[in-house]
Amino acid sequence: MSTQVPEQTEEESSADTESQSQSAAQQARMEKKRDRAAQRDQQREAEEAEREFSEDGTYLLKVFRYDPEIAGKQEPRFDEFHVPYHTGMTVLDALMYARDEYDSSLTFRHSCRQAVCGSDALFVNGRQRLGCKTQLSDLEEPVRIEPLPHQEVVKDLVVDMEHFYDQMHAVEPYFQTNDLPEGEQLQSRENREKIKMSTRCIWCGACMSSCNIAAGDNKYLGPAAINKAYRFTMDEREGEDMKEHRMKIMEQEHGVWRCQTQFSCTEVCPKDIPLTEHIQELKREAVKNNLKFW
């Protein structure tokens, strides 16, 4: 029923007697309240129906399997698992369930279950995501789970991270300065704010795996390592001389200039680090720096 009719009554009747208008207004309010209640009921029912459906329901996972040593697994294949769903279930929960209940040889890295350890970046339904931070309910079935692309597969969902670590280590990823004070070293709030996002990286490798350029050029430092360098380059506590030194690293042949602003790194980063923005800022910084010498 529409609430508009009584509202009109209210307007009209306000010219009439007080009592009438009050009762009309009251009527209108009650009407609205009933409506709202009905709506809520409906919603609850719908939600309950959904929950019942999903609680009974299972999710179908298609999981990439490969083991270099086990006969039958040497040829990569996909295994299917039907995992019973409960609200709040994540991709990682589903994998753990499949492993503990169906096949204990299903292998994947995981630890914190809360998006801080960076172990479980996976390729889920065509996109790099953290298993623990991805709700099953946000995905279409069947849920296809693969190891990160562009990295060597060790076994099942486990990839070799060595190359990623090498790139991270290549940018001198540590604080260094030539003048340290005795006590606290002050830093302005603005400067801390500037580097804040860049410090959030959990080394999951999702960005690197999503970048076409990194896939084509093994020497490319990649978004995560460049972001790491950004974190220190922009930290004013290191001092100007260090900044110059860091810019030289960034400007190497396989450094910032390799980035073609494809943005996929930024899109997949589970910590929402604006990677492309940081890379671009370093490019501009490099140009500015160089203009001084040209």
Binding site: C112, C117, G118, K155, T199, I202, W203
Partner: protein, 618 residues
């Protein structure tokens, strides 16, 4: 066989700090860790790190607060060391570049925390642990310290004198997860255990899946006593499906707890008429569970934490990350719905007994971080006191292991000095299921080693440990049928959460011991289905499960013995603190496959004063 001066097991905050300190002391140091360092659970810490840095604050005040918070079960020398060294350590971290939050004037920000008389919790947003872990790892890279990552340490190589205090640690045995081989690591000067918490003993925990308490279990079986294991901190607001922590800040800002009937139970059922939702962690945890047990929980499992009335603006301004946590990990939008929460295991106050230099009673064996118990937290840890523990005691252990001079420790370890025997009435025999001395390799309880009376050379001990471990791993892999560890682990975790939770009563504790015994028996039958030598997590977890069992038992035995209510430990039969009997640490030693209970008095004499037990009223 690899060889280094100092071997650090674990690469969380404590392990990294220890390695850096040992190297600065001139040692050739290597870290062996089952996870790559940046994957360690230190990264999950949010709140901050306590240090008396500012005018008006002092290490003495910090020490006083900590002692009070420990409910007078912390050892004064350890607490004072922590509080004295922490400011220097925090400045050190800052000099390594840690991006602490800043005040207007550019100095590090500090905030108030429960139980602290001064706002001394130094923080970096809501991700202090992440920053701390990464900053220290960066220093490791800078120094070129060697890391054997994804190497799982399965056994300590310790000599076998009759009395544990005469034994010496010569190294460790580790399994290379990626390629599947066992190898020995000989440590010329010392082994430092920094393996973190044992959260996986419970089925609902804020801890990582990797936190299986390997360090304490290995040290225990090598002869080092475990101290105060019954003291487990439960956090009242964790998400039911994953255990992800919802910060106290939500209640601080005005979040309200409701039961299924929409009642504000903290008030309506009189759990905390003054503080309501803001009562201390243990009080709120107990209230929530009482509601659930009384049938007023939602889905008989959890209660609701509602912050919608705070308004979107305020929520986004102050608690934005909570919105993301609830959405990502529970699929709930807290702006639209109340968040489901329940108590979850959070921190273990007890662990490997050490002195304030991090050394255990076995010479050359050290422990630091959550796996250790120098006893700074006593029966209850205050928020923000674990991170300084990592750096302060990590550093000391590293220095001492590398030969640095820290002076003689005031705290005694092992059965030396003042101690008394204890007894506890158990429904089933705890410890190994097989008779002592019997050859049980499969469960890692020891096995083939006949005592040499400590006459072998260090290399021989390491070699022998490697051989024993080979046999064990082979026998686990050889079996083609039996039980899978997942089932055993899940049973124990469930029983622990049911019986050794926030509420502890005699019958439940005994039931837990029976369940553990059951699990131990099943474990005799355990087999590893995955035969691959590449990244065999099935094997690793099977070995971990053995450790979980030993620790579950130690926790339960301690809880059964201590019939008083102190700090985080609540006993139905005796709901008050009993200083006359219980101002002492619960100690458990593994003797020939049997846990041996004994006690050591608390050290309340500090440097300048003796701490007087007072009522803890918050």
């Amino acid at each position: 066989m690899h060889e280094h001066d100092v071997i650090v097991v674990g690469a969380g905050g404590a392990g990294l700090r220890a390695a850096i300190a040992a190297q600065e002391e001139g040692a050739d140091v290597a870290i062996v860790s089952k996870l790559h360092p940046v994957r360690s659970h230190t990264g999950a810490a949010e709140g901050g790190i306590n240090a008396a840095l500012r005018e008006g604050d002092s290490w003495e005040k910090h020490a006083y607060d900590t002692m009070k918070g420990s409910d007078y079960l912390g050892d004064a020398p350890a607490i004072e060391t922590l509080c004295k060294d922490s400011p220097e350590e925090v400045i050190q971290l800052e000099h390594w570049g840690l991006a602490f939050s800043r005040d207007e004037d550019g100095r590090m920000s500090q905030r108030p925390f429960g139980g602290m008389s001064f706002p001394r919790t130094t923080y970096a947003g809501a991700e202090t642990g992440h920053q701390l872990l990464h900053t220290m790892y960066e220093q490791l890279v800078k120094r070129g310290i060697q890391v054997y990552d994804e190497w799982y340490v399965t056994r300590l190589a310790v000599s076998d004198e009759e009395d544990p205090t005469d034994r010496e640690c010569h190294g460790v045995v580790a399994y290379d997860i990626k390629s599947g081989g066992l190898d020995a690591f000989r440590a010329r000067d010392g082994v430092i255990l920094a393996t973190g918490g044992p959260g996986q003993v419970f089925d609902h925990t804020t801890n990582a899946v990797a936190n299986t308490g390997d360090g304490p279990a290995m040290a225990y079986r090598a002869g080092v006593p475990l101290e105060d294991m019954e003291f487990i901190q439960f956090h009242p607001t964790t998400l039911p499906s994953t255990g992800v922590l919802i910060t106290e800040g939500v209640r601080g800002e005005g979040g309200i707890l409701y039961n299924e009937n929409g009642e504000r139970f903290m008030f309506e059922y009189g759990y905390a008429n003054n503080d309501g939702e803001l009562a201390s962690r243990d009080v709120v945890s107990r209230a929530e569970l009482t509601e659930v047990n009384a049938g007023r929980g939602i889905e008989d499992e959890y209660v609701h934490l509602d912050m919608r009335h705070l308004g979107e603006e305020r929520i986004i301004d102050r608690l934005e990350n909570i919105v993301h946590l609830a959405e990502d990990f529970e699929g709930v939008d807290p702006l639209e719905q109340p968040m489901p929460v329940k108590p979850g295991q959070h921190y273990a106050m007890g662990g490997i007994e050490t002195d304030e230099n991090g050394e255990t009673c076995i010479s050359g064996l050290y422990a630091a971080g959550e796996c250790a118990c120098a006893s700074v937290h006593g029966s209850n840890r205050l928020g923000g006191n674990a991170l300084p523990e990592l750096t302060v005691f990590g550093k000391r252990a590293g220095q001492h292991a590398a030969g640095g001079d820290l002076g003689t420790a005031k705290i005694e370890t092992g059965k030396r000095g003042d101690w008394e025997t204890g007894e506890v009435d158990t429904p089933v025999e705890p410890g190994d299921v097989s008779a002592p001395g019997e050859d049980v390799v499969a469960d890692g309880s020891g096995g083939t080693t006949t005592s040499s009376g400590g006459s072998l050379s260090p290399e021989k001990y390491v070699q022998r440990a490697l051989d024993t471990e080979r046999e064990r791993v082979e026998s686990l892999l050889e079996k083609d049928e039996g039980r899978q560890h997942a089932e055993i682990r899940a049973d124990v975790q469930k029983s622990m959460t049911r019986n050794v939770n926030v509420f502890r009563e005699e019958a439940g504790l005994k039931q837990a011991l029976r369940d553990i015994r059951d699990a131990r028996e099943k474990y005799q039958d355990v087999y590893v289905a995955d035969k691959s030598s590449t990244f065999n997590t099935d094997l690793i977890q099977t070995i971990e499960t053995r450790n979980v069992l030993d620790l579950a038992e130690a926790i339960t035995l301690g809880a059964l013995a201590r019939d008083e209510f102190r700090g985080a430990h609540w006993r139905k039969e005796n709901q008050e603190r009993r200083d006359e009997v219980w101002l002492k640490h619960t100690m458990l030693s593994w003797e020939d496959g049997r846990p041996d209970l004994w006690y050591r008095p608390v050290v309340l004499e500090g440097e300048n004063k003796t701490y007087e037990p007072k009522v803890r009223s918050y």
